[in-house]
Amino acid sequence: MISFFLKRLLLLIPVFLAVSVVIFMIVHLVPGDPIDNLVQINSSPEQKAALAARYGLDKPLYQQYAIWLGKALTGDLGDAIILRRPVSDLIAQNLPHSLSLGALALLFSTVVGIAAGVLAAIYKDSWIDRVTMTLILLGSTVPSFWLGLLLIMLFAVQLGWFPVSGARSWDALILPVLTIGLGGVALVARVTRVAMMETARKDFVMMLHAKGVPPWQIELRHVLRHALLPVVTILSLRIGWILGGAVTVEFVFARPGLGSLLITSLNQRDYPVVQGALLMLAIAVMLGTLLGDIVQAAMDPRVRERIK
């Protein structure tokens, strides 16, 4: 198990390098120049050149990349051009907000999604199944920014239960978590339901009935365990999505976070921040996938066998 973990970790190194090249290139392919944003309109080409030299933007791209990657590996992501602060500080300041929002939304999606999927599968074709599936359809089709606005109107403006925006108190988290989490609930519930119904048709389930095992035990101890395998895969892919894809939700709720940091700096062509934030998201996606693989290996002996 530990050797499997190390092997997977080593495999991430080439992936990380490839991702870093892509991130670096994308930022430089985007039209627009941070120097133009930084200098006054009537400044001379010499002044611009001096600024470019100060940030290393006059060097060839491959040199810029090497310098950037070298420093990034030591934790130094450079200084923000517009915000004029170390990028690592900006990330350290925003990451906890993204993490708490993401972790809670993921937890919410997992618990509620699995519960809804199990209920829908056990009571399939009954009203419980139909109601759950209708809600799931709604949940997966309503765009999150619009859902966020609706939730704000109802629970923050009309009822006044939660703050409209910001991140000053814990209850400001609830509406954003719901907004992001409901899409995940829909996804997880759908996958759980289908996987449970598929597993229920397997021979070994009929054998469990033949052994006289009570149906609830068959559903929860055997069928659900199998159904969770694809759910784990979905969830591990969702980790990166939640951290990076929370952009619109952070925007709607005016919350600090990696997503809003990314959007702000993209608009200002603040290269170092964009690169740093993208790199953090890429790492989150990679760690999420790794975590998913580990959980799956822990749950399924056949996966462990394949690794050896």
């Binding site: 397997k202 021979d203 070994f204 009929m206 054998m207 033949a210 052994k211 006289g212 095992v213 056949r302």
Partner: protein
């Protein structure tokens, strides 16, 4: 009074009626063979006896299944569940897919004795280890810890047998227990089951399409054709003097040593489709002795000189 008495049961699944008036009995210490081609209703009969028919969407429309004095067709599901695995156990067709692939072998056997005998975890484990050893599987402790994919097909089928024995049942329903296995393993498994019947005095309903297996193990045989009983007799009579032309054809199809090459032929024609059973005797389109009567009137299962057969023209 027989341990299990299946009395004139008919089954419907949707608009289809795959079983019609099936009747047979099994006593303690007896191996009853249930023979027929695929689609003859053998596995469905097993489902009926296990009380699992509703799980595949079927219902018993007529008849009774009396087990130890109680009619299973009238028992509530909860009562049936208490019998399943405890007094009536199943050995399924495919050992490869009958075990939960992500749960240890030991836990799957233990489950039966904790559930039905109320054993503690340690006692259940001790019992499982004993059963594994009895089925002549080497290194019981290692097997108890193993996962299904680490075992061969023959091993897995022994584990399924151990699972069936875990709560000390009175009746075992074995649905083609050797079909998925190598020929050399087949004989071993059949021998193990025959010994169990002898040593423990339990009853075994052995479903198979292999007349060789029947000859090797069974005391009595029920021959099913297209959802009806064609013939029922003790093993010696079935092979020495088959009463139904279908049984005769089945026996003719057993390959023998010293047979002329190329002389082994199957039964002409095909098993009729369930949606389009022929009128009268369902075997008549394939029967070499069929007459007008066979196409018009369904033959009743009647007592002959020995055993029972459903044929208008077999001798008394």
């Amino acid at each position: 009074m027989a341990l299990l008495s299946v009395q004139d049961i008919s089954v419907s699944i949707g608009v289809l009626s795959p079983l019609e008036s099936v009747t047979f009995e099994i006593d303690k210490g007896e191996i009853l063979g249930l023979v027929g081609e695929s689609g003859s209703g053998k596995s469905l009969t097993a489902m009926c006896v296990m009380g699992l028919l509703p799980r595949i969407g079927g219902t018993i429309t007529k008849g009774a299944i009396v087990f130890d004095g109680r009619d299973l067709t009238r028992l509530p599901e909860l009562e049936l569940r208490r019998l399943r695995g405890k007094r009536i156990a199943l050995i399924s067709q495919n050992p490869m897919t009958s075990l939960d692939p992500i749960i240890r072998i030991g836990a799957q056997i233990d489950q039966v004795s904790t559930l039905h005998l109320g054993l503690s975890a340690e006692a259940a484990k001790a019992r499982s280890l004993e059963l594994i050893a009895q089925l002549r599987i080497p290194e019981p402790a290692a097997i108890h810890r193993a996962y299904p994919h680490q075992l061969s097909g023959g091993m897995k089928q022994r584990i399924v047998i151990a699972m069936a024995l875990a709560a000390d049942p009175d009746l075992i329903v074995a649905d083609e227990p050797t079909t998925a296995l190598d020929v050399t393993i087949q004989a071993q498994i059949i021998q193990i089951m025959a010994e169990l019947v002898r040593d423990r005095g339990l009853a075994l309903m052995l479903i198979t399409h292999d007349m060789g297996v029947v000859a090797q193990a069974c005391d009595r045989v029920v021959v099913l054709y297209a959802g009806r009983v064609a013939e029922m007799n003790v093993i010696g009579e079935i092979f020495a003097a088959p009463k139904h032309p279908y049984t005769r054809e089945l026996i003719r199809c057993i390959p023998r040593l010293g047979q002329e090459p190329g002389s082994l032929k199957g039964i002409p024609g095909v098993v009729p489709s369930i949606v389009d059973y022929p009128e009268g005797c369902r075997f008549n389109p394939r029967c070499s002795d069929a007459q007008a009567l066979c196409r018009e009137r369904k033959p009743a299962l009647e007592r002959k000189s020995t055993g029972l057969a459903a044929c208008h023209f077999s001798e008394a």
